[in-house]
């Protein structure tokens, strides 16, 4: 996060439209020069919230405060929108050349021709599309089109940049290259950005803070590592990649740690939970180590369990290994490790994870 000065504040926002999840945001602050990622599954209401924030749709209730001043939907609409730029999932280019597309926002603002040319050329260079300036937009590839769309948004030098899943329709190489360029441009500018995405790696890479949105509400907001490592509830934990979530009963305490039981298996975790309390233990798959022999003596991990491989699935650079250790447990291992461990369904194996690697969610009430 680059600043603690609020640039945008939302209070008591409610919005409902047909066939869309109702939006209910009691309070949200976006700080100047930060990148806030809005993550959540499809249908969580991210796009709707972005449209409300951009004043493209009128909320039924609530206030949007920009730079300390409440925005009146009828009176300040265009003036407010001219402080923003929004990039949609689809590039939505106009049927004209790349240059004219990038210039469009500046033309709406009535800038002089010379100034437009300067700003457009600068943006075309920044996004590596200067050579395409005279090309009709309809002849661009998906990556080039989205690059043009981003250049068009940056050309108006927005105070806030709203990015609604801008990479989701791109192939992996175009996506990677565009994320790199966007990262450099956002970090190198004074722009505040709100990025809506369902891809948590994208969010982790680009954002200072993450807001997890589900069913039209923000379930958790905070620094990226806090969201990833300390989700507030089962739903958030599941969305941010926690594969193993166990509802356990605490048996005993020992200093700063406690032992909890799940179907008779005892798991040691760090936290303040009290005996008799029911807690959720969240174990990220990256934290689980697999080995073929009993390594209890040679590992610092407090939790070591024998298990049987129940499922094995490739997952990009990793293999996802599902185990039955008397409780379900998921681990990620590299393809190389999977080969070394001779992993296959039904194989007996040892799984270990540290007590400190477990995130504990204490159930309220």
């Amino acid at each position: 996060m680059k600043s603690f000065t609020p640039i945008l504040e939302v209070k008591g926002l409610r919005f409902k439209r047909q066939q869309a999840v109702p939006i209910d945001i009691p309070h949200l602050i976006v700080y100047e020069k930060e990148v806030l990622a809005l993550i959540g599954p499809n249908g969580a209401g991210k796009t709707t919230l972005m449209e409300v924030l951009a004043h493209l749709v009128r909320p039924q209730e609530g206030q949007i405060i920009f730079e300390g001043k409440e925005i009146d939907f009828d009176r300040d609409q265009t003036r407010y929108r001219r402080k923003l730029a929004m990039v949609f999932q689809e590039p939505l280019l106009l049927d004209t050349t790349v240059f004219e597309n990038v210039a469009s926002g500046l033309k709406f603002r009535g800038l002089k021709k010379k100034e437009i040319e300067q700003k457009v050329e600068h943006c075309l260079e920044r996004f590596g599309i200067a050579h395409l300036r005279h090309r009709p937009a309809r002849l661009l590839s998906g990556g080039e089109a989205q690059r043009t769309s981003l250049a068009r948004a940056f050309a108006v030098e927005p105070r806030i940049l709203l990015l609604d899943e801008p990479f989701s329709s791109l192939d992996p190489p175009s996506r990677e290259s565009l994320i790199e360029d966007l990262e450099a441009n956002v970090r190198g500018s004074e722009t505040t950005a709100i990025l809506a995405t369902h891809d948590r790696t994208e969010a982790l890479r680009l954002s200072d803070r993450i807001a997890v949105m589900m069913e039209g509400r923000i379930r958790q907001i905070g620094p990226s590592d806090e969201i990833m490592n300390h989700p507030v509830n089962e739903e958030v934990a599941s969305f941010v990649g926690v594969e193993t979530i166990l509802s356990c009963k605490v048996l005993s305490r020992n200093g700063g740690s406690f032992v909890a039981s799940f179907r008779g298996q005892e798991i040691e975790a760090v936290g303040d939970a009290q005996p008799g309390e029911v807690v959720l233990l969240c174990i990220r798959p990256e934290e689980v180590t697999l080995s073929t022999g009993l390594v209890k003596e040679s590992t610092s991990a407090r939790n070591v369990f024998p298990g049987r491989v129940t499922n094995l699935r490739p997952l990009g650079l990793y293999q996802k290994v599902e185990l039955d250790c008397g409780f379900p447990l998921t681990a990620y291992v590299t393809h190389h490790s999977a080969e070394n461990l001779l992993l296959e369904e039904g194989k007996e194996i040892w799984a270990s994870f540290k007590a400190t690697a477990i995130h504990v969610i204490r159930k309220k009430g």
């Binding site: 449209e51 951009a54 493209l56 265009t78 929108r81 001219r82 923003l84 730029a85 929004m86 949609f88 689809e90 939505l92 106009l94 049927d95 469009s104 926002g105 709406f108 603002r109 309809r138 068009r152 108006v156 709203l162």
Partner: protein
């Protein structure tokens, strides 16, 4: 067959000799239908765009009315325009019945629903989020509407073609409100009807060929503009 060949020859002759009467009738046809098309484009594109962009109760009913209007029978239009412009009619004080102005009004009424219907479809076929994207780029509502019309310019050319095609070829309304007065309100279609009723098939065919040629020429030009740009 000879009759048709004679007609074609006659048409060719009338054209290359710039026959003053035929030229006058042709020019008036172009003027009346051109003006009617222009008016219908102005009203139709505006109404079609407005309909496409607005949401209100009963929109489907209004759209179905527009679509029905696309097949408005010219004689019915002619009848109502005549009644309105009749000496004792509500607009009789204007004194424009049996004038080219009355013909322009009648033809415009025929073309407006055609242009409105096609404009509505043209704007609706644009990506739904394009309107939001244009607004998000800082456009005012007026700038946004203008951009959408520009984006839909290729299908909108179809509206021009259909509108012009609809009015240059109609005869019922023109004859009823124009009166087919020689040298004043006689156009290609009304002249063709008259020559046919007199048995002057060669002249009627000649006029028909000129009418076809004119319609073809205008549509050729518009098609050229439309096809110069490959649709997305």
């Amino acid at each position: 067959m000879d009759l048709i060949l004679e007609g074609v020859k006659k048409a060719f002759w009338l054209l290359i000799t710039f026959d003053p009467e035929v030229m006058g009738v042709t020019l008036l046809s172009l003027q009346v239908s051109g003006a009617a098309t222009g008016i219908s484009l102005f009203i139709g594109i505006f109404t079609g765009t407005l309909l496409a962009l607005s949401e209100f109760r009963g929109k489907r009913f209004v759209v179905s009315l527009v679509n029905t209007g696309m097949g408005l029978p010219p004689v019915v239009v002619g009848l109502f325009v005549t009644i309105f412009l009749w000496r004792n009619g509500p607009l009789g004080f204007l004194g424009i019945l049996y004038t080219p102005t009355a013909m322009v009004i009648a033809q415009a009424i025929i073309a407006v629903p055609i242009v409105t219907g096609i404009s509505l479809a043209a704007i609706q076929q644009l990506p739904a989020k394009l309107r939001l994207q244009i607004l998000a780029l800082g456009a005012t509502r007026r700038q946004m509407v203008w951009m959408l019309i520009k984006e839909a310019r290729l299908p909108l050319l179809a509206a021009v073609m259909a509108g012009f095609g609809g009015v240059i070829s109609e005869v019922g309304a023109s004859i009823m409100v124009g009166g087919n007065i020689k040298g004043y309100s006689r156009v290609l279609t009304t002249a063709t009807v008259m020559e046919t009723s007199r048995g002057n098939f060669d002249v009627a065919i000649a006029l028909g060929v000129i009418l076809l040629f004119l319609a073809y020429l205008v549509n050729l030009l518009l098609t050229h503009i439309q096809q110069r740009r490959r649709p997305r």
